[in-house]
């Protein structure tokens, strides 16, 4: 029997507001535990939450970026559960009416196709603190408690781990373009829960969904899905699907490369949601609704524009737009009016190759976009050869000098394109090698390369090779 995998994703994105969602404590890193706290996020008696509108604005930007409905009225609910990192013993979260509903995004698959994945909803909520276990002692740090989260819930429309990872990459890139989150998986500002089920191919009804929580890399997402699909398929084939696969929460165990059950069947949680009486319904003004429509150009739009307006290949456009910083770097380069295709080559192969070797990412590049664009324009004006330009870039990776002309001079890479100067060298070469000239003329064509090499050598590599070729052809004909 063949099975179909059904995947839905819940992603918790920490919004990069300056203060927490329900109090004015900073969200920034604190050196000591429990210092970014106040009566509200410590849940002291009498303290009351007040909604941070910046978090609402960021959620609305996201809604517009994924073609969703942004609800002008939304509601915060209390979601009750006891856990030491949850100071009120309820989380303030949107349940009845989320701020964002009915969105979509398009994922790019390896075969070059694109697939629409529905976004059911995205709602605002407060993050929990952290429990720290230290031998027999457990400690609670509430610095993170109250950090705004946007929980983005997809439709169960992904059918493979490839699609799931592509969805996550796209989502990651969108929130980064919108500048609503740092979206750092390792640091926990982009956290992912995966819902996986299988069903026999052709069956319409969904199988039993298992949730895998808090996976902190795209690679582990793929591995966890693969493991879970194998586990569920095996259970089905062994006739124990009903008893083995039930609605539960599992965790990805990195060490064992397996998912494991987090809590038993019998403890299915009843969160007892109801509207939080401390917060009135969120009513967004017309002005804010309008403001949230101003979103920066997103990766899909950039890819389309790069292909259409700049004549760039789709694969290159996807590479450049995968990272916001890369796209911005690229667009910064183009401001110097260089050929977009040269910009692509120099960015994606020359610069990225060198950065990878140095273990740096684009944001830490020692050479900025304007400088590398100047270098490219020097190639275009024949002031330096392509090969010479690579030497210039190598030099800049190691040194602080950024004046391209100075470096070209310093390295002796100035390219001679002046016909007279090149002709003088050619004539000298031909005079000194009269015998070879005769051999060439009697049919030994291969010697042409020798004349080119000799000319270049005598120019110390500074002659423009195209010019050398052309002038030699003329002289020897």
């Amino acid at each position: 029997m063949r099975f179909e995998t059904v995947i839905g994703l819940e992603v918790h994105v920490q919004l990069n507001t300056k203060s927490k969602i329900f109090c004015s404590c900073p969200t920034s890193f604190a050196e000591h535990q429990n210092t970014n706290t106040c009566p509200v996020c410590l849940a002291l008696p009498g303290a009351l939450p007040v909604l941070n509108l910046e978090a609402v604005k960021k959620a609305m930007l996201f809604g517009n970026a994924v073609n969703a409905t942004v609800n002008q009225k939304s509601i915060f609910n209390r979601k009750s559960y006891f856990y030491p990192d949850s100071p009120m013993a309820y989380q303030i979260s949107q349940f009845d009416i989320p701020i964002v509903e009915h969105g979509e995004l398009f994922v790019d698959l390896e075969d070059g196709s694109s697939k629409r994945i529905g976004i059911t909803r995205a709602h605002l909520e407060a993050d929990a603190g952290k429990n720290i276990h230290d031998g027999s002692i457990s400690k609670v740090d509430l610095n993170r408690a109250g950090t705004p989260l946007l929980e983005i819930v997809s439709e169960p429309e992904m059918r493979s781990s490839e699609e799931a990872v592509a969805y996550l990459r796209k989502l990651h890139s969108i929130v980064r373009y919108l500048d609503i989150s740092d979206a750092n998986m390792q640091e926990g500002s982009f956290r992912c829960d995966v819902n996986v089920s299988i069903r026999p191919e052709g069956q319409e009804e969904f199988g039993t969904r298992v949730e895998i929580k808090n996976i902190n890399s795209f690679r582990f997402v793929a591995a966890a899905i693969a493991y879970e699909v194998a586990r569920q398929t095996e259970a089905y084939e062994d006739g124990i699907y009903e008893s083995e696969v039930y609605q539960e929460t599992r965790l990805w165990d990195v060490a064992k490369n397996a998912t494991k059950s987090m809590r038993g069947k019998e403890d299915s949680a009843d969160y007892r949601y109801f509207p939080d009486p401390d917060l009135r319904p969120v009513l967004v003004s017309e002005e804010m609704m309008e403001e949230a429509k101003h979103i920066p150009e997103l990766p899909d739009a950039k890819v389309a524009r790069y292909i259409q307006e700049l004549g760039i290949k789709k694969d290159d456009a996807l590479v450049i737009t995968a990272l916001k910083e890369m796209a911005y770097y690229f667009e910064e380069m183009l401001k110097s009016n260089i050929n977009p295709k040269s910009a692509v080559t120099w960015l994606t192969s020359e610069l990225l190759g060198r950065l990878n070797k140095a273990g740096l990412d684009i944001t830490a590049s020692p050479v900025d976009a304007a400088t590398i664009a100047t270098l490219i324009s020097k190639i275009e004006s024949d002031a330096v050869s392509g090969k010479g330009a690579k030497d210039v870039l190598d030099y800049m990776m190691e040194n602080d000098e950024r004046n391209i002309d100075t470096i070209i001079d310093k390295l002796g890479l100035a390219q001679v394109s002046d016909d007279g100067a090149i002709l003088a060298i050619i004539e000298a070469v031909l005079n000194d090698n009269q015998d070879k000239v005769n051999e060439y003329k009697s049919g030994k064509d291969k010697l042409f390369g020798f004349f080119v090499g000799e000319t270049m050598k005598r120019s110390k590599g500074s002659a423009n090779p195209a010019k050398v070729n052309a002038l030699l052809k003329e002289k020897l004909s």
Binding site: G46, S80, V140, F274
Partner: protein, 445 residues
């Protein structure tokens, strides 16, 4: 005891003397109205219910679970007192987490009624009302979720006022039921109530439910002629003494030139059911934070679930546990629609019913409680106690302002209070009517 109005004319030195005199009186008293003698700020001493946060004070909501907790901040009302020539002086006893109508459920023991120490002072702000009624406080701040200011004020022969929901900041009031709680004054007369109300009211950006609307200083005009509605079908459930005081008061109001209109309202049993569903649902979550993890009294335990279980089992009293259980039940999946959602709908109907009456009347006159203060220990059955809130809780459900004032005494000399209810945010009319009624009924202590 001197009134708040008079106290506000005293010098710093005189006030210091008044404060120490008050402290001596309170310490000598056998009412158990005060559970602490902390003081903060300077000026006219105001007694503070034990659920209002005062920076540096032990503030415990009358509960064992908050023993050891020191509040690190001032409630907004305390900040306002301190900047208005007043100080916070003393903590008043209360039913644990304001859940009760007798002040018998306090961790600090029962408070006694100043008119008869074999009787309860009412609740939950029983300590505050007993102290003001018993002459050992100039004025006090209480909180009213279902009558917790008005009912003890009525039992103890003083004035208790619940502002419109949203009029006074709840920031710093340990929450019982967030959509119903309001802080308000308990005073010796109507004028003092208006003075204290004026000081504590106003929009507070720290409380999202506080109303951001203009409001001017209250200037009482006791000569305004008002239309006052009486709810005829309400009164039959009250004792004969209350019924008599009620009809006498109606007569006095007519004699003072007010117009009386007769109305009926739906049965109060819907109010009680609605209140005990919504209030307990909110309370169950509001009290979930008392888990022994961060502050207050922590029970011995070797793992986290025992920590919760033991801390809450040992720290909460029976009535609090009963309401937490009830609240969690009505919010449970499968029951939510039948209880919580239905109660919300009924709440809207109750509000609409009041608004309909206010189309024709400026104020409503109603009993505060169906009887005078009961004997200590007389109320055994929780449902019996809940029923005694029948006249007060609808006002909280509708979010309206109301003021209770003494109008007469029964044959045992126990005070009887009646309440006036006004439109939302029309405290001005409430005080005008109350001042006129206070004069008309000629109540003597």
């Amino acid at each position: 005891m001197i009134t708040l109005k008079v106290a506000l004319t005293k010098t710093k030195e005189e006030l210091a003397e008044i404060k120490s005199e008050l402290e001596n009186l309170a310490k000598a008293s056998d009412l158990n109205a005060y559970i602490g003698f902390e003081n903060s700020g300077e000026g006219v001493p105001i007694l503070i219910k034990d659920n209002i946060q005062v920076n540096g004070w032990s503030v415990t909501s009358g509960s064992k679970i908050l023993q050891g907790y020191i509040a690190p901040y001032d409630a907004t009302v305390i900040t306002k007192l301190k900047s208005s020539g007043m100080m916070a002086f003393g903590r008043s006893n209360m039913d644990e987490f304001a859940m009760g109508s007798t002040t018998e459920s306090s961790f600090y023991g029962i408070t006694k009624n100043p008119y008869d120490i074999s009787r309860v002072p009412g609740g939950s702000s029983g300590g505050a009302a007993a102290a003001v009624g018993g002459g050992i406080a100039i004025a006090a701040l209480g909180s009213d979720t279902g009558g917790s200011i008005r009912q003890p004020a009525a039992y103890c022969g003083c004035v208790g006022m619940k502002p419109t929901y949203g009029r006074v900041s709840r920031y710093g009031l340990a929450a019982y039921a967030s959509s119903l709680d309001q802080i308000g004054p308990i005073t010796q007369n109507v004028e003092d109530a208006a003075i204290l109300y004026d000081i504590i009211k106003g929009h507070d950006p720290r409380d999202s439910t506080s109303a951001d609307i203009e409001d001017s200083k209250t200037v009482i005009n006791e000569n305004r002629k008002l239309t006052i509605a009486v709810i005829d079908n309400y009164i039959s459930e009250a004792s004969s003494d209350i019924q008599k005081a009620y009809s006498d008061t109606i007569k006095a109001l007519q004699d003072a030139g007010h117009t009386i209109v007769h109305k009926n309202m739906q049965n109060t049993k819907y109010d009680i059911a609605t209140y005990y569903i919504l209030a307990t649902a909110e309370a169950a979550t509001n009290l979930a934070r008392f888990d022994g993890v961060r502050y207050g009294r922590r029970a011995e335990a070797s793992n986290v679930s025992d920590l919760y279980y033991n801390t809450r089992s040992e720290g909460f009293g029976d009535e609090v546990k009963r309401r937490i259980l009830l609240g969690n039940f009505v919010l449970s999946s499968g029951y939510y629609d039948a209880y919580y959602l239905k109660a919300q709908r009924v709440r809207h109907l109750i509000r609409d019913e009041f608004n309909t009456i206010f189309n024709e009347a400026d104020l409503i006159l109603s009993p505060v409680a169906p009887s005078v203060a009961p004997k200590i220990g007389a109320v055994h059955d929780p449902l019996e106690m809940y029923k005694s809130d029948m006249y007060t809780i609808a006002i909280n459900l509708a979010g309206l302002p109301a003021l209770s004032l003494p109008v007469a005494k029964d044959s045992d000399g126990m005070p009887i209070g009646l309440q006036l209810i006004a439109k939302a945010f029309d405290e001005q009319t409430l005080f005008d009517g109350a001042a006129s009624m206070e004069k008309a009924v000629k109540y003597t202590k």
